[in-house]
Symmetry: C2
């Protein structure tokens, strides 16, 4: 597991400690428990706590904290919901973590322009709760109740991306604190623009290494007139994947198209008492007019039948749909519970849809042969899937085996024209894969941008590339 | 008109001349006629010819030409179809223009992944012609038959953007020659990725100032099962705009929604013999299933009637639709012919849809009061509209008046949360507006990126920011 070993940071400069304490009072903490809590995320990496945590409530707080850290060349890491899977939040070079969870104000809902502006610590569920009477919703759904700041930083996507795009497509503008504490606003409220470099897209996906996102303006979408969700079981993973390829190539505008293998189904059955057939399945959702939804569902049912799929089991009420999607979102935690004490090494490759079958079929064969417990879930409509290898963290050989399987899977994805990360980001985990994917010259280009924007290398150092 | 005055460049270094001649033979020209032809675009700026032109046929050609120019710190400008409206192609600091029109190979059509990869000189009509039997099409339509390289460089959009997005959304990957002649490939064939900085989006819209795009991978879209186009006339521009706002806020997935004012309609009637009522109109297109198209059209007809719109005049056959859209695309040239010898100063503001009415209504009042001949066309579904002020180039007062009107229009758009450029780019024309829109710190950030990627400042110098 490359680059996960934290360096031993120098002690926090006393002058910085005193300046942060003076500026932030009780909102600055160096308490061991607070630092340890902020030194981990959902990844299998060992914790690497920061040397202090500032609980920010405003862009000005973030700007001041960054400026103070810059004055002492001390690392700064932004922290939202702590749901990263790739070690983004670990203070591998020490420094100060800025906890943005208290920046949870929805600043503006402009229904007439289908936009919302929120502070970075607002979570996707919070935003959708605020939108519930507006006729609009925010579609990006990475499973975890992540913050919009964190989702911007990792270019998150999730179950709805096949229809509504990713954070790349749905972030319209950002407020960003730069490495020296200056604040820039990127983008406008206009739907499109050709005015200068696309700074918004530069910060989206930059994992806190180029600036710290403090406010996000996102596009909203109309709540569909009709929604229908269905489960369709298949004899094997290959059949479910072939059905997915067929429906995407038929350009059916499906809103969600999620694969769960039999291991994942077993895990969520045990955790959420769903009673689903313990076979591979597609969990699908259709959005549109009542007629449109019917049309889509009929087309997909016909395609599924051609691939050995079962009759659709419908979730007709919002409650039933919600129960299914909650179970889907619990898949990761449910799987962890199937092997007490385990950790999960998660893969995130994304391939062109035409290559999804060979990618997943080879992955299943390798995982079965490995003997490691595993499960597969996937946003297969996008060609993106996750294998979770459940490892015993006390057994280095298991971690090595999982990483070897991941490497094999990633290199196959790259050979098929895919990417090492569909949505989780690079973090600590995929630095070598990013280099293989992008090439040395592109990495050098990214580094030149990093150097130009963060000459002291204080913004989330050790991530994306070391 | 700011920054349009070319500097007098130093003579082309003899060593560079000889090296280019040796490498490119007859594909390198310093003939006056060739240079003059490459020193202008569709903008009203006076020509600024380069000192030589290289006709490139491959990425290797571009890489070698750039490397040679870099060795002598001589400017390099990429040239596609010459259809820029903002002076992008003018060699205001001299240098070598790389004509990419011969890079016109469609390299790959991957119908199964709905992707195409083309050389930068392929035009949108050429690509769609190659796609005609595939069931797919490339939707970005800026009017001119621009090259995909140029469209990438300006982040172009046009009539279909309201439904299909812009080049930002539809470019998946690029091959780019950097300022030192190195070649990078950005992006993969996967639909989404969270792997590292979004270099693709950094180059899209960078107007040739960060690198030269030589190959473009774009997303294709299924040809809709049904297409219907209709013209709806309105008593005044305000009514047409109010109808547009209503249909966008109703989330009707209209594929094209174009405004033409009475001046524009008169011009295209004269040029294309259309016989349209010489009133403001919306030219609309609906894509979908037969039932979906019917449903959309009925909804919009009802909304239009509420706003005083006429009964729709339908263009039912592909030929009739093509005739209408050709006329729309000829609006600019048709308008130029209404005042022989004139040039056109074009605006390009884009505002949030809720502010479109006040933006356009004030614009109309100011233009009427000015006494200058003008016309308005607009991709109003996106909040983007163009006023063309038809000026006599021998009358500096007219140019000044048009520029003053433009400045008023842009500053109003910025105050309304909009952008100075929806799709044409900054070029020579909007540098001050970009600064007002983005702010000094964001401009400094863009400059830092420029400096990092092009330390010799040889890539299209004098554009975006001086």
């Amino acid at each position: 597991m490359p680059d996960a070993t934290p360096s031993t940071p120098a002690a926090l400069p006393a002058a910085l400690h005193d300046a942060l304490a003076a500026r932030f009072g009780a909102a600055f903490s160096t308490a061991r428990a607070v630092c340890e809590q902020h030194g981990r995320d959902e990844s299998p990496f060992d914790a690497a706590p920061p040397q202090g945590v500032v609980f920010c409530t405003s862009t000005a707080d973030v700007a001041d904290a960054v400026a103070l850290c810059a004055a002492h060349a001390v690392p700064v890491i932004a922290y939202g919901a702590g749901s990263s899977l790739e070690g983004h939040l670990l203070a591998v070079h020490g420094g100060i973590t800025l906890d943005l969870a208290r920046m949870n104000q929805v600043l503006d809902i402009a229904a007439e322009d289908m936009l919302a502006t929120v502070q970075a610590g607002v979570t996707r569920l919070q935003l959708n709760d605020e939108l519930r009477h507006s006729g609009l919703f925010f579609p990006i759904d990475p499973g975890a109740d992540a913050t919009l700041g964190g989702m911007s930083a990792t270019r998150a996507s999730g179950t709805n991306a096949v229809r509504y795009g990713t954070m790349r497509d749905n972030v319209l503008a950002l407020t960003v604190v730069l490495a020296d504490g200056r604040v820039v606003r990127t983008g406008t409220r206009a739907r499109k623009s050709s005015a200068g470099y696309d700074l918004t897209r530069l910060f989206v996906g930059s994992e806190g290494t180029l600036g710290i996102v403090t406010e996000v303006t996102v596009r909203l979408h109309p709540q569909p007139a009709a929604v229908a969700a269905a489960v369709c079981s298949f004899p094997d993973v290959a059949a479910a994947v072939d059905c997915t390829i067929a429906l995407i190539q038929a350009a059916i505008p499906i809103a969600r198209c999620e694969l769960m293998d039999a291991h994942a189904v077993r895990a969520v059955n045990a955790h959420d008492h769903l009673g689903l057939p313990e076979q591979p399945l597609l969990l699908m959702e259709f959005h549109g007019s009542a007629a449109g939804v019917r049309e889509q569902a009929q087309s997909v049912q016909a395609l599924a039948a051609e691939h050995g799929g079962s009759d659709f089991a419908w979730a007709d009420t919002p409650e039933e749909r919600s129960r299914l999607w909650k179970a889907r979102h619990h898949a990761y935690l449910s799987a962890l519970q199937t092997r007490p004490g385990c950790r999960c090494v998660t893969t995130d490759a994304c391939v062109p849809i035409s290559r999804l079958a060979e990618s997943i079929n080879a992955t299943v064969a390798e995982a079965d042969a490995s003997g490691l417990p595993y499960f597969i879930v996937g946003h297969v409509g996008d060609g993106n899937f996750h294998v979770g290898y459940l490892i015993d963290p006390t057994q280095p050989a298991e971690r090595e085996l999982a990483e070897a399987l991941n490497a094999q899977l990633v290199r196959r994805a790259l050979a098929l024209g895919g990417t090492c990360s569909g949505e989780h980001g690079v973090g600590l985990h995929k630095q070598q894969f990013l280099r293989e994917e992008a090439g040395d010259d592109a990495i050098e280009l990214m580094r030149a941008i990093k150097q130009a924007l963060d000459p002291l290398q204080i913004l989330n150092p050790g991530k994306i590339f070391v």
